[in-house]
Amino acid sequence: MKSDLIVLGGGPAGGNAALAAAAAGLSVVLFDEQPAAGGQVWRAPWAGKADPHDSPERREGDALRDALASSPVDLRFGRRVWSVGRAFRVDALGPDGNEWVEAPRLIAATGAHERVVPFPGWTLPGVIGLAAATVLLKSHAARPAGPVVVAGCGPLLAAVAAGILKAGGDVAAVVDLASARDWLVAVPHLASRPSLLAQGLGWTLKIAGRGVPVLFRHAVRRVEGAERAERVVIAPVDETGAFTGGSERSFEIGSLVVGHGLVPGGEVPRLFRAKTRFDRLRGGHVPELDADGRTSIAGLYAAGDGVGIKGAAAAVLNGTLAGLAAARDAGRLSESEWRKRAEPARTAAAGLAPFSDAIAGLMALRAGQVASVPAETVVCRCEDVTRGEIEAAAVAGATEVNQLKHFTRCGMGPCQGRMCGETAAEILARSLGVEREAVGQWTARPPLRPVPLADLLGRFDYSDIPIPKPAPL
């Protein structure tokens, strides 16, 4: 099947890109593996969830879902895109097997994933991601086993702690890498979005009202337990996130929820070898884009947190701009009509910058975090590769992340380096004594996400999960 435009991702960025392009007259196909639009932040509750609570995020998500449903956009939910090829052919695995669409233009809006900097015990069952907890609370009407310690950094900490309390759970402590001062410095910028500031204060009050201890400038030292997480030990850190040697505290837990910010996915621009640069504030390698989301590859656009962490409000605007740019480039919008539609989004996006910088700043990786990972701790969960093994590879001559993959299998497992990639790259750079930029970026390979070959072909086993071929050195 052919269309004018394919949009990959139905979150705030992709959803709005599809709407803007379709409103300008393009035929648009939108792919997302989730059952409904909304992406991570406006994730729809699955159908049987208990009394879906009313929240600003819920309302925004419903508004996007309604707008898409009444638009001419060809909606392909429940489809995992596993291949994106030249001329822009997209292959996706859906309920009826493989399907493909071709279009001269493609907008990649695949979002971000979570970074968790490893510590001993982080692989134990009962330790889950912070962003993962938002999915449980928002979409599954579930909360982790209590008592819960919520640890890491960024605005999701308070949101998740308050969400667990609201759902009737027990939060033993909130452990924040940031100091109270870091937050105070960020707050004036957060105040540029009063509704969110109020939400943040609401979360904070909810935590305070329950007498939950909030430990600023602390981090998880280790999690103990045999077959699941039973105890978390925390300790004070300095402003770089390195442990100060101050006294440890421990909490008996049912679960640890932990996250250290987000990493932009960006696999589609990388697959096409679009120009990228490393941007620590934005979470990792990001494609170089013009003001409308054009990558260095003709016809390929990108928007949202997948091209640098900026948050949902910026994703909406950048998605809209990318959709308009695609329509303009396809000759469906005159210069003046394009300007009329794009100008408001551009102005609003510029106004958001202080807010998104403040949010990104609270979530950005700190130098001392990676330095604190013990040598025997697993970094790559898929292949059980430890920090020590990564350092040994550096000594043995690995100078770049794709070589590291060959030396250690780090990043070669089914998650394709999404969980460990940024941490492993930082460790490699540190052990070589070079900047993070110098060790390069992970080459993206199809499949974009693993798909069982059985669903494409026939019966299969674990070893049949397509795992990307090693990158050429």
Partner: protein, 98 residues
């Protein structure tokens, strides 16, 4: 002594259809359509598999289809439990988990 919950908590919708699935021969009840990883966690089954190299215990981690820690056998095929909706009569196998 602090009481530790054995399982995750979930509130099923009042009208949800509760169905039965089998996990290594054991019957588990969950609302139809719920992501399987959540259904298992709510039944106290957090340990889903062991890591291939070190044999270390693992469970669902990202709940968004990225980490692959929840890859288990559902009706004979390897599936990501966090992306697989519960269906009546589903046969779940945690191969390699004692």
């Amino acid at each position: 002594m602090i009481e530790r919950d054995g399982a995750f908590h979930r509130r099923a919708a009042p009208g949800a259809r509760m169905v039965e699935l089998t996990v290594d021969g054991r019957a588990v009840t969950a609302p139809e359509g719920e992501p399987l990883a959540t259904a298992l966690a709510a039944a106290g089954i957090l340990l889903l598999r062991r890591s291939p190299r070190a044999g270390a215990p693992r469970g669902a981690f990202c709940f968004m289809g990225v980490c692959q820690e929840c890859a288990i056998f559902v009706d004979g095929a390897l599936r990501q439990a966090c992306m697989t909706p519960v269906a009546a009569g589903m046969q779940v196998e945690l191969r390699g988990v004692p």
